[in-house]
């Protein structure tokens, strides 16, 4: 494989082989889906009939029929993985767009299937006990099970109609559009096919030699085939715009085979062949695969008609973008290597990566990102504070300022960061208290003005705590005298701390000393 550019351009096989592979794997999946759906529908119908007539012997047969559901559904699920894989490779654009636009409906497939499978197991297990439990679980199971093909046909129908995508994105499913009738008929077509294949399966595998059961299943088969024709005709009209010769040939062949099948199954007096073989059985075994394969071919051909064109365009655009981005590959890889080499388990790295953008290399609050901030990043080189108080600030951030919370680091990392702060900036060192006699004017000023916010003891007042950002707790946090003086003189831009440069310098220095003395 060539080195990576854009992984969406990496095709495991030429497209034509992928399409053939999709045809085969989708066919396998669909076959078991139809058998599973048919079994569940017929099993529940027979249960209702037997239950109403109180026929417990017959019910044993219904139970045998539903027992096969476990194997059929398991294969239906597991065989679905193959086509899903191939569809995601060759129809990436259509598949991810269509399922994305119907995201929550699409996701509901998971709980619906689990519910359906478990409920049908319960239905089968309890069929011969009290009637209400199998009835309820049967209704829930079958209801959930029948919703799933509606979701799948909905997603596939949307995938094949790029024109409908914008409408879906705007949540405006126009009722007049061709999408809804197409979806409806397509869904009904799947249900009809499930009846046909389910009835045929049980005719051959579970009915045994019982002529009455055979007659009942033949009647379902006959009705199913007629229903398919009735639903198939309007369904064809909904895809008339992308019709091509391949589709026409496949549909004609399939319809002819279906007609021949209906003829072979036509209602006649119940007659038994003495050798135990099934009347019309050989015709069924020959014609059913023809119908199945031709309908599948028509479906795939319709899908490819739109999607392959779309997909080629998308790949061309992608190849262009990829060529354009090629020159950025080296810097991208360099950035990745750098990231891989950076281990965030030590204070130095955490400071460099998480704090430095704002606080700067020297801690002066002059990092490159700090230029964007209205409340300037603190000059942490001048901070002398209690370790636990700083931890609190690092963990909670400082509301009203740009300081974010850092609970993204566990306690050990925070500890190593705090150690680093102390090593680099002696952050937890003692407060430098200026040695000077503080005058009365400064004491009064503190009491009457500063204490409004900072509190008399340095613990922010109730009013101070309403501020964003709130003032620091000066009983646990101090700054070096020069930085204190700078804030008192110039204010703290972006906060309510205003400049007091009009005060005499001696008073300002007194205030610095008062603030420093507040730290416990």
């Amino acid at each position: 494989m060539a080195p990576w550019k854009d992984l969406f351009l990496a095709l495991p096989l030429p497209e034509i082989w992928l399409r053939i592979l999709l045809f085969v794997t989708f066919g396998l999946h669909l076959l078991f889906v139809l058998l599973m759906l048919g079994t569940a529908m017929l099993g529940f119908t027979y249960f209702l009939k037997d239950c109403c007539s109180g026929n417990r012997v017959e019910m044993g047969w219904s139970q045998r029929m539903v027992k096969s559901h476990l194997g059929l559904k398991s294969l239906a699920v597991v065989l679905g993985v193959g086509p899903l894989l191939i569809i995601q490779v060759i129809y990436s654009l259509g598949f991810f767009t269509a399922t994305g636009l119907q995201a929550f409906t699409w996701l509901s497939v998971i709980p619906l299937l689990i519910l359906a499978f478990l409920a049908i197991e319960l239905f089968e297990h309890k069929m011969l006990s009290r009637p209400w439990l199998p009835f309820i679980s049967g209704v829930i199971g079958l209801g959930a099970l029948l919703t799933v093909p509606a979701i799948f046909t909905g997603a596939l129908s949307l995938m094949e109609r790029p024109g409908e995508w914008p409408g879906f994105a705007a949540k405006a499913m126009a009722p007049g559009s061709i999408y809804l009738p197409h979806w409806l008929f397509r869904y009904l077509h799947v249900l009809g096919a499930a009846i046909v294949f389910g009835a045929a399966f049980h005719l051959f595998f579970t009915a045994g030699q019982d002529t009455e059961k055979r007659a009942r299943l033949r009647a379902w088969l006959f009705g199913g085939v007629l229903f398919q024709v009735a639903v198939g005709v309007p369904l064809l009209f909904t895809v008339a715009n992308v019709f091509n010769w391949t589709v026409l040939a496949a549909v004609t062949l399939g319809s002819a085979a279906a007609m021949a099948m209906a003829w072979a199954l036509r209602p006649a007096p119940v007659m038994t062949l003495t050798d135990g073989s099934i009347r019309g059985g050989r015709a069924l075994l020959l014609l059913l695969p023809v119908v199945f394969v031709s309908m599948l071919a028509a479906r795939q051909s319709l899908q490819d008609a739109t999607l392959m064109t779309l997909h080629k365009q998308a790949r061309t655009a992608l190849a262009q973008e990829s060529a354009d981005l090629g020159r950025f590959q080296k810097p991208a890889l360099d950035a990745f290597r750098l990231k891989l080499a950076t281990v965030y388990d030590n204070g130095a790295t955490i400071y460099a990566k998480s704090c430095q953008p704002c606080h700067g290399v020297g801690g002066l609050g002059d990092g490159p990102a700090a230029t964007r901030l209205l409340v300037r990043a603190e000059d942490i080189a001048a901070v002398r504070a209690d370790r636990d108080y700083v931890r609190q600030i690092v963990l909670a951030g400082w509301p009203g300022s740009g300081m974010p919370y850092f609970t993204v680091f566990d306690k050990d990392k925070i500890d190593s960061l705090l150690d680093q702060l102390n090593t680099t900036f002696t952050m937890f060192g003692p407060t430098t208290v200026p040695k000077r006699a503080v005058g009365q004017q400064a004491r009064d000023l503190w009491k009457n003005t500063c204490a409004t916010c900072h509190g008399a003891t340095g613990q922010p007042s109730a009013f101070g705590l309403t501020l964003r950002p709130a003032p620091p707790d000066l009983s646990r946090f101090s700054l070096e005298p020069e930085r204190s003086l700078q804030i008192i003189t110039e204010g703290y831009p972006g906060t309510v701390m205003q400049p007091y440069r009009a005060l005499p310098e001696a008073t300002r220095r007194d205030l610095v000393a008062i603030a420093a003395n507040l730290r416990r």
């Binding site: 080195p3 990576w4 854009d6 992984l7 969406f8 351009l9 495991p12 476990l70 559904k73 398991s74 294969l75 699920v77 995601q88 598949f95 991810f96 399922t99 994305g100 636009l101 995201a103 996701l107 497939v109 998971i110 689990i114 499978f117 197991e121 994105a169 705007a170 950025f328 810097p331 991208a332 990745f336 990231k339 891989l340 950076t342 281990v343 965030y344 990566k353 998480s354 700090a370 901030l373 209205l374 409340v375 963990l395 909670a396 951030g397 509301p399 009203g400 300022s401 740009g402 300081m403 974010p404 680091f409 566990d410 306690k411 050990d412 925070i414 705590l465 309403t466 964003r468 707790d473």
Partner: protein
Amino acid sequence: MTFPLIHVPVLGDGMTIALNAVLHVLISHGVAIGMTILIVIFQNLGATGRGSFWEETARTLLKPVVIVTTSVGAVTGVGIWFITGILAPEGIGSLIHLFFWPWFIEWWAFTTEVVLLLIYYFLWDRLAQRRPRLLMALGWGYVAVALSSAVLISGILGFMLTPDGWPSGGTFTQAYFNPTFVPQFMLRISAGIALGALLILGWTGWRFKGTANERGRVLRLTGLVMLAAMASTAVFAWIYFSRIPETYLTHWKFAVATSVWSQVPNLLPVLNGVAVACLALAALAGLLRQRRTAMLLFVPALILAVGMVAEFERVREFVRGPYLLPGYMYANQTRMVRQEAALQQVRPLLATLDWVNTTTDKAPAAQAGRALFDANCGVCHSIGGINDITVRLQGRTLESVNALTSITESMVPFMPPFNGTEEERLTMSTYLYSMANKNTLPRPQLQGEVK
């Protein structure tokens, strides 16, 4: 190629995947591998004349195993695909293109596995008496295929974490046979056997119908298997984690304990220790045929085992941040080359978003802001749900939100950088600021309040 961006409201993307994935892992490892291996061993013991109760036990256990694996296990397995296809189409789409063949081969292994399990189950009654050897062969055939299925998928899961040489060389073999390939599948298989043995241990304690001696023998064997599997799990877990790049691994405590609890340093080591001790004691109780002790320990051991599975998957998923595919794509599905291009040139993001959801917000600027948030942050953060961005940004000013979004990659090690122009970043920041401060009234702030 830009696909619709969908994020699950309230639950968030990560939790949606986790709920489905953990359920799948519990069943695929614990039931489909673990319990079935023991069932096959039991059947072998019965078939080789060690007592018919072995076979009866195996037969009783097989039915729920088949139902649970084919109904819940298989559907949640496909479900991981469905969910990632919706939430991270660029990511899963890239993986599927790169790993098409292992996935395709795995599909056949998976199909064979299911077919063999069904044959084993449906033919049991017919073969158990008449051809027990054939039934044994079928059972071991199933186990072999189930194990190979686990091996096949491990190459893909491991690549997402240890991109040893892959981004530079860009070859399939570098991606697939990454350093965690072997330890990961060995770890998964061993842990699966331990979990399966625990489930059978509990069942034997509570529900076994047979003589006390028979029950004791089942307990002893199950306990022995569980102890051995636990020892093997420990060894391979150690090798596995030692091969993950340290830069990712240091986030494991935060990944599991989240913001608040990651500040209690010994919480996780102690919890894990308690869990391992509880499991080991349960296994020991089985080995020593202590039925009542095993019964008592079963429920807490099971809860703790589920917790440990969830923990492992959470760590595995989380610690590769900020990458979805290391060296190739960021967690928000932005390819690294595109990010580099955006850094060096003006490359607007909005113009490339084809499917902007217009239903949530009416104002054009809000729509744009929301679309940019969805594309850049929505994979981890929600608005109003788990990891709510509005709570995270409450109290920050607009210009500080804008400053923070400019340094995401540097500020938090597992956050990807913003993809888009400076103007778009301001649009997004404005949107987030307004969302975060929608209902804020000035109120007294309490000291030490942790947001």
